[in-house]
Subunit: 434 residues, 2 copies
């Protein structure tokens, strides 16, 4: 590995100069981590020879956009501003020229997600078709002068864009075209997430946290995870936080309380209309939600569909899907992993069901109530009460996720049943997101 | 005034209950200010009888959207979270269903603009055509669960939406239709800003800060100001901060430094292609920019048009105009007024030229370098060096703004020259923003 690095003048120079604070580096002087890490990662990755990772790290540098492409002298910058900064983290975002990302990227760059002491490098994945739009996004990021945004690179190759990623926010997915069957959509997206999972496996940080937004997000997250055996299985999340947030706002509305008083709202299962926003364990003002609202019929017949159909209601009003609030929920998901969960509270995330105590089949990406110490890791909450009604709803979600998994067996190297999703299978896509 | 308030049961009740922390109020318990202030404002406003302002305050409450419409019990909320909060401020935003506002509103609601101790009430102005979209925006704000966002009201009547506004962010403007002459555009928008200025004059907070984004923003700000004689003239700003931010990123790019090292960049004059981004006074890493870049030809021939044409370049890439970075620059403008300007630095804003020491004709909205103590007020910097070249460029901008003003004389109650902008007048609209 030494040999490889020494062959590479650019990288060797970065390494040699990294400890000193007063010279030109690409990025900032506090950031000596990427090339070394990529190389060591590559050594542990099965399919990536060191040379490739090194070449990619070099290549990555050449794809830095605009003002971020420059070597710059940190001596020119305000040392007071930077002295308590952490090391720069690499955040890869797919679907980076889309509307959800357009909100998310500016939230990330502003420091309101990872914190005001956390410089970040954005690595943006687009498609050939969207490459120019991606340049436009990078130009707007340049013009926003965010101090914490230290690097922006753009590209269309996941092996390049995921290199050294500490976080991969997988927003991009194939949208459902006119007349496209749901099974076709699962297949199409499955192939994308297989490729992207393999890329993560080869080049991402060995503890990369992955949040899948593109739908069907639970099954897409499962596919990415199964194709990235060198990353911890529990690092793969599917976004069900938007459902949680919507459930909280509906509970508040019904209770006549402000939404900040609502806590401990789990969303179980799939991000689809079979989703199970949990009112049994939810609290409002510290009391059980069911003691505050006292209307079982509303909970069972109105609350759940209202949350599931929220995206559709919004599209009817707004004429387009809910990009901003989706981005907010991604930001919330990240913050939930890097800040301690308040006692008694939880956050919802689609995670691997391995070892869960609720009897959900293992090997599924399933949304559970989770807790975190704020270290990027989490555990599934084990103290949620499940009554018969909740068990029945959760079982339906489990069945659906098993069915989705069966349709992508070939993409996850699994002996599975045949795909049973056909033209007559009820469409459980969340309206406005299919 | 007492009589009027006592007649009004809703308001009287709010007032009576306001000092106690443990009851239901519309909004939050810390906020007893609106009804009282509106009433006292109305008393000082020439055209607004108290009854009207009171009715409006009541009416406003009834327009609160969704979860924000509720009375809620602050006892249910985390007192620790709220104990150091300031009083809620009212922020009115026009063009609220548009793409710039769609970024801006979430930035405002997140607390990253006004601060994490500043609860806000958003008052969103749309049009009849966009009313449903406005509901969609409010729904997304509900689902984002921002703790600091205490109220959201939506409407299409500026007299309702500007009621009690501490800030008015005037993003909306008539876009230029196909074949529309620039003089027509100025007229059309002039009428909008005349109406909105009058509404501000009647119902906004007497120290309301106004930032005009809709183009032609300087002349629109002038019209609003002249129609709001009860508000301080210096409270009216036109957005030239996006130009400043773009200028900084271009200086950084040329100098090979990171943008955080660039300071003291003034934009003089109009937000149009006659804009004058000032490289003479600009600094890079604390040194004069001209000593760092040492390429006068680049400054004079490339830098200025590059900044002015940035919006057009972005549209070519991105296929739509720069909504996110515009919203960022509005947020920057607000922050510049509520945080002290660092010593030796400045921020650019289109402000009333009354009493300026640079010889610019009075009674124009003209972009100057400004400084603030962080109290919402500002002064024009008086220590900027003007050389012959800069003077010539500034003069051209001044001539243009006089010409624009002459075209709207009838809207600002002024004896002025005839409108000299015709089909043969060069079009100086910033590309992508006309």
């Amino acid at each position: 590995m030494q040999l490889n690095l020494q062959k590479n003048v650019g990288l060797a120079q970065k390494q040699a100069t990294a400890p000193s604070p007063a010279f030109n580096v690409r990025g900032n002087a506090m950031r000596s981590k990427l090339p070394v890490q990529v190389a060591s990662k590559a050594a542990s990755a099965k399919k990536a020879p060191i040379a490739r990772a090194v070449a990619e790290a070099e290549d990555k540098a050449s794809k830095q956009f605009g003002v971020f492409r420059l070597s710059y002298d940190v001596n020119n910058e305000d040392k007071e501003m930077m002295k308590n900064w952490k090391k720069t983290i690499n955040v890869a975002v797919t679907g980076a020229s889309g509307t959800i990302a357009n909100h998310l990227l500016f939230m990330l760059a502003s420091g309101e997600v990872y914190g005001k002491d956390q410089p970040i490098a954005l690595q943006l994945l687009g498609s050939e078709r969207s490459y120019e739009a991606l340049e436009g996004v990078a130009m707007e990021l340049e013009d926003s002068l965010y101090p914490l945004l230290r690097e922006v690179s753009i590209g269309i190759d996941p092996y390049e864009i995921f290199a050294g990623a500490d976080w991969a926010l997988m927003v991009g997915a194939q949208p459902r075209g006119p007349g496209m069957e749901r099974s076709d959509l699962i297949q199409k997206n499955g192939q994308i997430f297989q490729v992207q999972g393999r890329a993560l496996n080869e080049v991402a940080d060995r503890n990369c946290k992955v949040i899948v937004v593109g739908n069907p997000c639970c099954t897409n997250a499962l596919i990415a995870m199964e194709n990235a055996p060198n990353l911890p299985r529990k690092n793969f999340h599917a976004l069900t936080r938007l459902d949680e947030n919507r459930a909280k706002s509906q509970l508040a509305l019904k209770a006549g309380k402000f939404y900040t008083s609502v806590s401990r709202v789990a969303v179980w299962g799939n991000h689809s209309t079979t989703q199970v926003p949990d009112f049994l364990n939810a609290k409002i003002g510290g009391l059980p939600a069911m003691n505050v609202i006292r209307d079982n019929q509303w909970f069972k017949e109105h609350f759940t569909p209202k949350v599931a159909m929220r995206g559709g209601a919004l599209i009817k009003k707004w004429g387009r899907s809910s990009a901003a609030s989706t981005a907010v929920s991604v930001a919330d998901s990240i913050r939930s992993l890097i800040t301690p969960t308040p006692p008694g509270d939880c956050f919802s995330s689609g995670v691997i069901s391995d070892g869960n105590l609720y009897g959900i089949q293992e090997g599924l990406n399933f949304s559970f109530p989770c807790r975190s110490k704020g270290d990027g890791d989490y555990e599934i909450c084990n103290d949620f009460i499940i009554d018969d009604w909740l068990r029945m709803k959760i079982k339906a979600a489990e069945d659906e996720l098993i069915q989705e998994r069966d349709c992508v067996s070939h993409l996850i190297g699994r002996e599975g049943g045949a795909c049973a999703i056909g033209p007559n299978t009820p469409d459980t896509s969340v309206p406005g997101e299919n």
